[in-house]
């Protein structure tokens, strides 16, 4: 059983914040609003999810509703895995 939340948090903090959290990132914080992610960041995030969880993400799924916080990511990935 994957601990999506921990794995995603670790990836986001290491890869986009380079380990520097000025204030702890909460699970519901928007990655866009907190300027954590940019256009390349979305691609990096998608590549990570596809490789780590052996999923294929369709273009129409690449929207903030699915990817813009740890909570949303966990929900989205769990759904995809279960399908």
């Amino acid at each position: 059983m994957h601990n999506y939340q921990t794995e995603l948090r670790q990836f986001i903090v290491e890869n986009f914040l380079f380990g520097r959290e000025d204030k702890p990132l909460s699970n519901s914080d928007s990655l866009l609003e907190f300027e954590i992610i940019d256009s390349t960041g979305v691609m990096e995030l998608v590549s990570f999810i596809e490789q780590k969880y052996q999923l294929e993400l369709r273009d129409e799924e690449l929207i903030p509703e699915n990817l813009d916080s740890i909570d949303r990511l966990v929900r989205f990935i769990a759904q995809k895995v279960n399908v």
């Binding site: 380079f18 380990g19 390349t40």
Partner: protein, 644 residues
């Protein structure tokens, strides 16, 4: 084109010639052809000459007939022939054919207002023996550099910062506020430079030192005022072509052969075509060719070479080349940079010099004044969408932006909307056009050390820049505001400096820019915004003007901004030794500017091949260039890593 330096002691006591010598020796690359000094009592002027006009008679520092005025001058007064005639009519006698002597007599006649008579690119200092006044001036758009330092005892000035830092007793310290500005705007806001206590004379300003008091004065700044009367497009295009032809003709005045840079884009092709109209001689052109197809424009360059029948030379630029020469590039740039784009320009000027050329015309300045940059288009779309934020159709236009960035093209519209936001408060900002770029750049401050963050935490770079905006700025069209930020700041501080003067002069090459002729700049500033960008068609009028002169495929090609490879230049199989040295935890820690662990994670991302984005690449270039500044200027002044 030359290097200048000088010392004025406020108190009695003669200038030490050894100090003057030290200042000029370190910038001999700017003027390898001749060396001159003038010393009298408390004043010393020095000059390193790159001979271009009046090869035999232009020795400097130069004096007027009664030796009441002495000048040391870097640059060209392109209309010196016309100003000279005007001065002869007023009774002045000339003993040389140089533009330098024109400056002396023009100053004698018009005083500080002489600069209004000049069409050129200059940085000069005049010592006035009668009024015991030192007068410094820099051209309107900041083509030629000029730096100074004031203490209670002395005023010193020079073409490059290294001349000032070479003097004993000058603190060699990074200015952390300047660093914050660079990691926001890409440039320090003049007069601030990357170094504490060293100031830059901003473009379009003059400076006087009289009785120990230093005063600066604006004599010109970009001003946008579109016409009230309707003029036909074609009439504008015809007028522009005539102006550009004359601007090019003036810039061909030289007693040595003149070549041209050719990028394969509209601007340099048009200038090359105009040169061809002015001269019967087969023109020599020079280009950069990238191995990486993402950056290479050589197919367009070859098309122009065939069309305009130039004698062409190109330099091949690889990732490894950029990494290899980067320390030299930063030694000459004298400030941290966030892009490696200056590096290929360094190789290009080397090629020019090896071919025994020392003057080139280029298409620089066109994007700023005629509306060529993508950031103008981006701002237009953002505002169009921002006034109807609920529109589903308007944000689709964001897809039209940056076709050369594949990551961006793959984004959903929802994400594009998030990246190119136009929040209600943004619409009110004087920096609306530049907010996405500056916000992205500011995120690089995550790499700063705790000490630097503590020092800069309460600093507001936007407020400092806002305080310098002209009074009329809020009433200008959005495009004009964006143009002002580009032409007034990024152009002199980065394009003409880090990418321009410094890279060319590193190999004793002078760049000349017809688009920056003041008549052309004023003409462009007086155009309606719709003639610069018609809907989303950039440089509309310039394209119309170029219709008969430039091959259609070049005129109609999608805009490709000049860029160079970044991360790959520093991390590869045979990467230069300095990369590991400068990025090592010990080096980062001793530099004190960046956070060791945070930088370590970025470096690991590059080593793993996971860093692909603009932000990561800018961060890496910014960190390496800052470390190079620390290492070559502060910790070990004069240390050089390469001999490119």
């Amino acid at each position: 084109m030359c290097g200048i330096a000088g010392i004025l002691n406020f108190k009695a006591g003669s200038v030490d010639p050894a100090l003057l010598r030290k200042m000029i020796d370190i910038i001999r690359h700017r003027g390898p052809d001749d060396l001159g000094f003038h010393l009298q009592a408390n004043v010393g002027l020095a000059h390193a000459r790159l001979s271009i006009i009046d090869l035999a008679g232009g020795h400097q520092p130069m004096h007027n007939g009664d030796k009441s005025l002495w000048v040391t001058f870097n640059g060209e007064i392109f209309n010196y022939v016309e100003v000279r005639e005007q001065l002869i009519r007023r009774g002045y006698r000339f003993s040389t054919l140089s533009d330098t002597e024109v400056i002396l007599h023009a100053y004698a006649e018009f005083g500080e207002h002489c600069v209004h008579e000049f069409n050129g690119q200059w940085a000069f200092a005049i010592w006035d023996n009668k009024s015991h006044k030192l007068f410094l001036s820099r051209d309107r758009l900041g083509v030629r550099p000029l730096f100074y330092r004031v203490t209670p005892e002395t005023f010193t000035f020079a073409s490059e910062i290294k001349s000032l830092l070479a003097l004993p007793g000058v603190p060699r310290e990074l200015d952390l506020i300047a660093l914050d500005q660079i990691f926001t705007f890409w440039f320090p806001i003049p007069p601030r430079t990357a170094f504490k206590e060293i100031k830059e004379l901003p473009p379009g300003q003059s400076l006087t030192v009289e009785e120990g008091v230093v005063t600066t004065k604006h004599y010109w700044s970009p001003h946008f005022e579109p016409p009230q009367n309707h003029v036909r497009e074609q009439d504008y295009a015809d007028e522009l072509r005539d102006l550009l032809l004359d601007a090019t003709r003036l810039r061909l005045r030289s007693d040595v052969p003149v070549g041209a840079y050719l990028s394969g884009g509209l601007d340099s092709t048009l200038i090359t075509a105009l040169i061809r109209q002015c001269t019967g001689v087969r023109l020599k052109t020079f280009s950069i060719r990238f191995d990486d197809p993402e950056f290479d424009e050589s197919p367009y360059q070859q098309e122009v070479v065939r069309f305009l029948e130039t004698e062409h030379r190109e330099v091949r630029c690889t990732h490894a080349d950029i990494g290899r020469i980067f320390p030299d590039v930063i030694w000459h740039a004298e400030k941290p940079v966030l892009r490696t784009a200056p590096a290929p320009m360094f190789l290009l000027s080397k090629l020019v010099r090896e071919r025994d050329y020392k003057v080139v015309l280029t298409g620089e300045g066109s994007d700023e004044i005629f509306g060529g940059y993508d950031i103008y288009k981006e701002a237009k779309i953002r505002r169009f969408w921002g006034v109807r934020p609920d529109s589903r159709v308007r944000p689709l236009l964001l897809k039209r932006l940056y076709p050369y960035f594949p990551n961006l093209q793959q984004q959903s519209v929802a994400y594009l909307q998030a990246f190119f936001h136009a929040r209600p408060q943004d619409l009110l900002s004087p920096f609306f056009s530049h907010l996405p770029r500056w916000e992205l750049t500011s995120r690089l401050k995550i790499f700063f050390s705790e000490a630097v963050r503590a020092e800069t935490r309460s600093y507001d770079a936007y407020a400092d820049l806002k305080a310098l905006l002209p009074r009329a700025y809020p009433g200008w069209d959005l495009l004009f505001q964006a143009q002002f930020l580009e032409a007034g700041y990024l152009l002199p501080a980065y394009i003409l400096s880090s990418q321009g003067d410094r890279m060319a002069m590193a190999h004793s090459v002078e760049g000349r820019f017809p688009f920056l002729d003041p008549r052309v700049v004023d003409f462009a500033a007086g155009l309606p915004a719709t003639l610069k960008m018609k809907v989303l068609n950039e440089k509309y009028l310039l394209k119309l003007c170029a219709k008969e002169l430039v091959p259609p495929r070049v005129r109609k090609r999608p805009k490709q901004p000049y860029r160079a490879p970044e991360g790959k230049s520093f991390f590869h199989d045979r990467q230069p030794d300095y990369v590991d040295e400068l990025l090592s935890p010990a080096s980062i820690r001793s530099g004190g500017i960046f956070h060791t662990d945070v930088v370590g994670k970025l470096v690991q991302k590059f080593r793993d091949g996971r860093a692909i984005g603009v932000k990561d690449n800018m961060a890496l270039t910014g960190i390496i260039s800052t470390q190079l500044i620390l290492n070559q200027y502060i910790q070990n002044f004069g240390r050089r890593y390469t001999d490119a």
